[in-house]
Symmetry: D2
Subunit: 423 residues, 4 copies
């Protein structure tokens, strides 16, 4: 694919962002592209994902709404059918003779963020802003999916000898799809795994050959159940779920920092109550905690659970906590990182190569990396710098499309090089 084709595909995907497990249109569009190749295998639906390990799948009504929208947008009904029930994503296998099996993992989901309409925001200015109100590719996964297709094409057209497996992973943003993809079996024979992310505050022209410092993460969903009462006539009869939640929020953010390393906490979603004149019977929050190590994450989760329990107690509310999606930390293997770095230095447009960097965030690519490493393989998470005006997860995030080609060149180059590597 030339640069124009990459840009065009990326923009198409950008227009149709779909949050976790709702990537119906996106998957169908990717599969259409995949069908251009002479693949050994193309896994979609339950063949691509270990169903029981999917985390954070929305309810049927929500899935149906996005499924219908994908249909209306012209997605191939036959493909869609295979994805029913939120089995989005795909695994493509390209065999090119003898040689190592190399995996490349890209994620494909969007975010529940309203995209900027500002003139300075290129997608708005150039007419490819999100058509799905309230959803946005605000983390570059549209670019990742595009790079994935680009790499596949480059390898298919190259002299590469070996097998390339491409993992189009859904639901990264909710730490929901990584484990399900890692556990489906397609990684068993993968000797080298690459994963990629654009941006991360690295400018266009910079490549990070080996990202570490993935924060371990755990999601928590807490529901406070009290008792409703007429707020004017008998406020004392209520057990106020909103007051309980509010006390919990104050104290979750107040969990003590830890001297062993970085921690994080965020209450990302709240909702509760039904009307101004009713003491709220129920309130719910969705939170996450992170730690530089799994231990630090668990410290945060332990403290968070205490906070939630006692905050409920202050207002005589019952509490249910669901510990949701979790991801471990992982390390990039230096040998593989070094190969990536070597290749990157020779790529047009690449002006700097960082040997390593910390992500400072979480990623469920770590499930796939650990799976490969457990089997004796090597893994490396690659950063492709791109000038991005707004931060990740903000309404003005965007990628410099010149960098799509960088990603393809670095990754495809590395894969080719691996075919020659003595085992």
């Amino acid at each position: 694919m030339d640069e124009d084709a990459l840009v065009s595909l990326r923009r198409e995907l950008h227009r149709k962002p779909e949050p976790a497990w709702r990537e119906f249109y996106t998957t169908a569009r990717i599969v259409e592209e995949l069908e251009r190749f002479d693949l050994e295998a193309l896994h979609v639906g339950p063949e691509a994902l270990a169903g029981e390990h999917r985390m954070g799948v929305p309810d049927g009504a929500e899935l149906a709404e996005w499924y219908d929208q994908a249909t209306e947008s012209g997605a191939d009904p036959e493909i869609l059918e295979a994805l029913e029930g939120g089995y989005t994503g795909a695994v493509a296998v390209l065999e090119c003779g003898e040689g190592p099996t190399v995996g490349l993992r890209v994620d494909i989901d969007g975010l529940p963020i309203e995209e900027s309409e500002g003139k300075a925001h290129v997608p708005a200015a150039e007419g490819f802003r999100s058509e799905h109100e309230g959803a946005m590719h605000a983390c570059g996964h549209d670019a990742h999916a595009t790079v994935g297709i680009g790499v596949l094409e480059a390898i298919a057209e190259s002299d590469f000898s070996g097998t390339l497996k491409l993992f189009f992973q859904p639901a990264e943003e909710v730490i929901g799809g990584g484990k399900a993809m890692a556990e489906r079996g397609h990684l068993e024979d993968v000797e080298y795994l690459l994963a990629v992310h654009v941006g991360l505050d690295h400018p266009t022209g910079e490549i990070v050959a080996g990202i570490d410092g993935f924060l371990a993460v755990s999601h928590l969903e807490a529901t406070f159940t009290g008792e409703s009462a007429h707020a004017g006539a008998s406020p004392e009869e209520g057990r106020n779920a909103i007051q309980a939640l509010s006390t919990a929020v104050d104290n979750l953010y107040g969990i003590a920092r830890h001297s062993d390393g970085a921690t994080r906490v965020n209450v990302g979603v709240i909702e509760g109550g039904t009307a101004a004149n009713i003491v709220a019977e129920q309130a719910r929050l969705v939170a996450e905690v992170r730690g530089e190590t799994t231990e630090l994450m668990e410290y945060m989760r332990g403290r968070a659970e205490t906070v939630l329990e006692s905050a409920a107690g202050i207002h005589d509310c019952e509490l249910t906590v669901e510990v949701g999606a979790q991801a471990p930390s992982a390390e990039s293997d230096p040998e593989l990182a070094s190969i990536v770095g070597g290749v990157a230095r020779g790529v047009d447009g690449v002006e700097g190569v960082l040997e390593r960097d910390d992500l400072g965030g979480s990623e469920d690519a770590t499930f796939l990396m650990r799976e490969v490493q457990k089997n004796g393989g090597l893994a490396c998470y690659v950063g492709v710098g791109t000038d991005h005006p707004g931060g990740h997860h903000t309404p003005t995030f965007d990628v410099d499309e010149a960098t799509l080609a960088h990603g393809v060149a670095v990754l495809a180059g590395t894969i080719e090089r691996l075919a020659d590597r003595p085992v």
Copy 2:
């Protein structure tokens, strides 16, 4: 209407609770009943309500959903058409010769509460539980509407000489319809106004001839707007709207009690944020404050505004506050209350008459009462006791249907008596 007919109509309405401004089915059903009578006039839609004074009308999508549901439930399309845009409720005028003009106001809206499915809950046990999930007649307005029809029929069949105007008012629960109905002009010639409420902790057989102590009330809707950020990678770049809201909730409930009398505050609805891993850009709360007098309510509102403003400031958020629906306090006129009491003492099944009682809540009937009193008329708010297992605004609220007849008899009897009253 005999008791069976009253019970049957009440249960029919109970099955189809519709919250404020969405009483499409309810209004249509009431209008059907009204068409049985030889009315001088029947006002619906913009004829019944001063549109600009309606408060808390939901957006078009929400209205459309309930409108469609009413259509599907078999409501008369022609009537529905007149109600478009949330012009629910009706005013019926029955002329019966020379004499005073008497008004009766009943409210007709339901609440956003999920009705109990418990066996001990009569509507569930006897099969007339709400068919609208998440909505419920949890304050007896189904009974009020039924009593309204019952009184109309009783007067139509009586020797009453004068004019009866029946006000089926929508949106009482959001303090949204009273002012719009009071300002439409139909009260101008009303000399006596009666309003009615069942229950209020008074048992079956008890009548309260004159309720006072309406708490003045004001609704507030506050939106905190901060800035989203990736909660793992750059939490410091966020301006956290959920933390701002949470601080506001703590401090709203903490507004100092007032030595001049009763005050209330409630944050009834909260919502905010989009995903666990995004620092929330936006959060919203819906609250109400009340006071035993308008001054006390204004003290609460003033303090609430300060709290909201500064809570936003703590997290560098912008704040918008909409001061929503408000209702004043009002007093029942003793002369009219005394007539009600006299009539009540002679009604079958009535075992006790209280001269007066405090509501301890708010009501936008006060707009209608004050309008009539301003014109020199008399107003009286009448309580009809009914054993209710759960409190008002709770999932197990119910009315003792034996009391429907009490309400009809006391009100119709009073109206008849008024025809004979020397001016």
Copy 3:
């Protein structure tokens, strides 16, 4: 005593305010005055108070400091000795022949408030501002003690036939002395009990013949004990008592208002921690809850205890709660109030008599009132209006000294009248 003598005594006491149980100088000064009379008995120290019922007595070091100060101020060492250990206050018995036994209770303690130095503040302007920094007669008990002496003199010089018992009660402000005085036995033969308070927002010239509406009150002292840690090097090892306290404060003020009547809550004192760089091991709060009835006070106390317990739990702290001083509500007897009112109407300078009013605060005079009423006697709490520039318990509170004579005249007049009342 003429007006000048009353003013002079009041100012002397005003200069030396002593908080609860520290009224050493004040008691000694009162006893000096009492020694002018031919008393049947003068009880001080453990004879005046049931020691085990004293509440809120400070520790020995604190008592010693105020004791020494009283000595330095020239208080009679012999009298002081009798008060050791915080047995302040006195009971004086004046026998004047056959007749009823009448009690008058006045309180004598000051408050821990820094008195205003403003020019508009009369005590500052006229040179009798508090000489005890941080303490102040900000509730008029200097006037009460003065009126007590004035009444004793007036009765001693009158034709009154009967017995007058004067109760100079300490520690009213901490609800600490009333029960101890009520339980000491001196009320057993008291047939009529009067108590008096100046001000209460009633202007000079107004007398309230019978105050009711005493809020029942309960004090709570909570200590949170966590674990200290170095705030920089190992914050996660701390269990933060200050965070626990802060969460408690938020939620104590957030206890739901009650539809049965007025409630109050206040956290009046906080302290905790030792240094900026140490996670606080300990924090303490002193709070009070009140209710229009004992039940309402108990509702507040029950909720407060839940809040404290769970707030401690959020931060893994231990909690100890001491439920401190409490006082019940009480009612003035109408028969006695009516006599007070009758007398008041004839007193020079009295321009208005209110039949009753609500205190809206708490008072441990209620212990004495209830004790007398239990024995079949009558009690009445009398308000003596006085223009006061600042509110009670504020740095600019002051009394209009013209009203000292009103108090003496109304109370002495009532006592004389009681001698003539047929039993």
Copy 4:
């Protein structure tokens, strides 16, 4: 000094811990020791400290109390006189011929912590527990001062050729003395500066040759001033300083973590209000913020100021904030660290040498280190491992006295070695 002499001096100092700027006895005792040597100069009082740069000096009454206590403990009155007004600490200059000028800085202050009385706590078991109730050497500064004397003696008795300056610095715990000592001029000619700390989670036998990772720190003292009111009679008239403080505490701990590195926040002291029944007019908190870099500390301070300002606003309180003591971060110079490491490896009892470690706390030794480095000199902060049962700043902290000799040997050895270093 042999080990016994070191232990004996350390225990003597341990018995008399004195918090920041109150080290009267400690300084006098150190000066007594210093007088044993043939010093070129001995600076105490304003000669040792630049008065205007002292931070966190307590008020006169507090100073007087500790001064008197030192007198009573038998400190030399003549020395004490020189320290009046809180000019504690000392600078000793030992000249031993030609050669480099080397500085050694030790801190000498205790902490406001109540020392454990537990049997397992050696100072309690062996009878040298703190005699100053509420104060404790809980961070090992007693050991530091002792090591300082030990090093001086070792050098005086050695062949060292050059000048040794010993800085006995007061008020480290409040970040109060470092700048004042750094600015007094005695560092101008210092070519090498050593500083030392025991423990820090390093066991006996371990030496850290170069500690970095000092957190920059800033102290904040905030006073909220509202308005007092009677909590029962007119709560609405209060402007509640305790509620403001409590909201501030919640939100200070809730300041977002920063992706650039470690941050800290602690509210270490709170106090407010005067009585349970008075709405608190005033409340005060003492807090600190830290950051891995000065920028991070400033981020925290900026956010803290916003929180404080708006929290005051919620309750209509005025706010005054004093930004107190601050310290920058600093780095140990590798050349000097390497010399320390070389010496340490040859010291008896030293079993391991770490090349560097992070402090993870703050230290105002950084002022002295930066001053020397600014002048072209080298600085190194040395850790001397010691088994400590409880953590720093806890009631059971203690040092393994065997390590006193390690400290002396490593530091004296390094100083001797420096005399031979080619410039």
